[in-house]
Subunit: 310 residues, 2 copies
Amino acid sequence: MAELARAFAPATVGNVAVGFDILGFAVKEIGDIVSVKKISEPQNIKIEKITGASGIPTDPKKNTATVGLIRLAKDFNLPFGFSVSIEKGIPLSSGMGGSAASAVAAVVAANALLPKPLDETALFSYALDGESLASGSMHGDNLAPALLGGLVLVQSVKPFEFVQIPVPKNIICVLVHPHIEIETRTARKILKKDVSLKEHVHQSSLLAGFISGCFLNDKAVISRSLKDHLIEPQRSSLIPGFTEAQSAALNSGAFGCSISGAGPTVFAWTDSRSSGEKIADNMKRAFQKNGTEKVDSWISPIRTEGAALI
Amino acid sequence: MAELARAFAPATVGNVAVGFDILGFAVKEIGDIVSVKKISEPQNIKIEKITGASGIPTDPKKNTATVGLIRLAKDFNLPFGFSVSIEKGIPLSSGMGGSAASAVAAVVAANALLPKPLDETALFSYALDGESLASGSMHGDNLAPALLGGLVLVQSVKPFEFVQIPVPKNIICVLVHPHIEIETRTARKILKKDVSLKEHVHQSSLLAGFISGCFLNDKAVISRSLKDHLIEPQRSSLIPGFTEAQSAALNSGAFGCSISGAGPTVFAWTDSRSSGEKIADNMKRAFQKNGTEKVDSWISPIRTEGAALI
C-alpha cells in the first residue's frame, strides 16, 4: 500500500448566478494540491506545511483540509495517522472555492492510502466537514464540482444527491479577481432571510431555463437565463466596481456574468478564448477605474474531470 | 378563405409540483373545443352557444374564450366579426386548465379565419387575455402547453419565452378530480407573499432536478424531485383528503403526486396504464373516505401535439 499520495482539486464557481447553494462548475487552470503521508501514530492528523498562502489555520481541527480527515481516521479506526501538506493555488477568500478544493484534495489523497478506497458519496461527506467549517453552512455547490468535475447540480448534501449537467460546447470561463477581502460568512450574513414569491418564481424560471439551455446546448436560452436577480443585488455592494465590470463583460460578448460564490471574484461565460481575453481586459479596467488596483484574471475552459491523484 | 373553423385545445396540469406558475404539461384525453364563425359586423364578437358546462359568462368581454378575440379583431381592424361556440370538455374550476384551453382553442380557430395567420407568440398573447381574466394573474403554465403541447417551461409571458422540456418515455398521467369547488383566485389569495431563502433553495433544487431528470429520462431523479414543499402545504387544506390521496398514489407506484394547478384536481405520474389504474382507484377511494362522494378520474399519456384545428 502507498505511503504517500498527492491530489489536485480544481477551483470552482459556486451559485453560477441561477443556483444559489446548489449549482457549481470546475475550472481548468487553477486549483489546490494536497499531499498526505502515512504516519505511525494512529488517528493523529497533523499539518506539515502550507505553501502559496499565509494566514491559514495550522491547527488540524480548524483547517478545512484536515478536519474531514480527523473524522475519517476515527470512523475507520485507522491504525495510522496522516501528515498533510497543502499547496494553495487558489487565492484565499476569493470566492473560487478554495476551501472546497483543499478539503476535496485532502480526502482524495488520503483515500489512496486506505486499505479499502471509499466511494464518491463517502468522500463528499468527509470533504463537507471542511467546507462547513469554512463557510458556516452546509452547501455542496463548490465541493461537488471540485470532486466530480463539470457542472453539477447538488440536490442534497446529506444524503449526497447530485446531477451532472452537460457542459455546453466551447464554453470559456473568465474569472476576474479584484483584491478585496470578503469573508464567506459575512457574505452569507447580509442576505435577506426571505424572498418574495414573485422573486422566487422569476429566479426559478431562470434556473430552469439555464439547466435546459445546457442540456439543449442552446446559447440563446443560456444567455437569457444566466442572471441572478436574487443574491447578486444584495452582494454586489460588497464589490466596488461590480456593476461596471458586469456591464463591460456583457458589452464584450459574455453570455452572462455574475459573482463567483460569495465573491469578490466575478465570472463570465463566453465561447472563445479571444472573446474571453477581451472580456477579462475590460472587466479588469472597470475594477481598476473603481479603485481596486490589484486585479487578477484567468481564462479557462470548464474542467470536466474531477479531483485526481497526481 | 374559410368561414368557419373549429379547434381543440387540451386540458393541462399547471405548476407540476416543482414549477409554480412556470411549468405545465398537456394531457391527451380531455380538452375544450371552440368553433368560430365569421359574421359580417366588423369586430363584433358574440357568443352563440356554450355546451358541456353551465354558469360560464355569456358576455364576450367576460368570457375567457372571447376576450382575446375582441382585442385581436381591433388590433387587425378586421372587416368582419366572430360568432363563437364553446364546447366545454374540461370541468369548470377543476384545476385542469379549462380557461386556458378555451382561450387557446378560440384563438387557434379564429386564426384560421384571418387573411394572414399569426405566429405562436401572437396567439399566446391573445390567449393570455383570457387566462388573465380567469385567474387575475399573468401566468402561462397552462396556456403554453395547451397551445404547444408537451411539457413546457414558461420563462416569460411578455415577451413569450419558453422551452419545450422533453417528456420522459412512457409517462402516464393520472388525474383525479374530487368535486369540490375552488376558485383559482381564492387559491392564489391564500398563498404567503414570502418564501424563506432556505425554502427557495430547496424548491429550486427540486425544479432543477426534475428538469434534468426529464432531459436524462431518469426516473430515479424525477421521482426524488417531483415534490412541492412550497405551494402544496398551503393549498392542500382546501382539498379534504389530499394527504391521504397523495399517500395512496405514492404507495401505489406513482413517481410523484401533487395538486394540478390551483386544484382540486390532483395529478400523479407513473409509467404504465395498469399502474395508473391502481393509482386512480386508490386515490378515488381516499377522497371518498374523506367525505367527497363524487370523484372523477382520467388516465392519460402526455399530449405532445399542441392545440389543433379539427
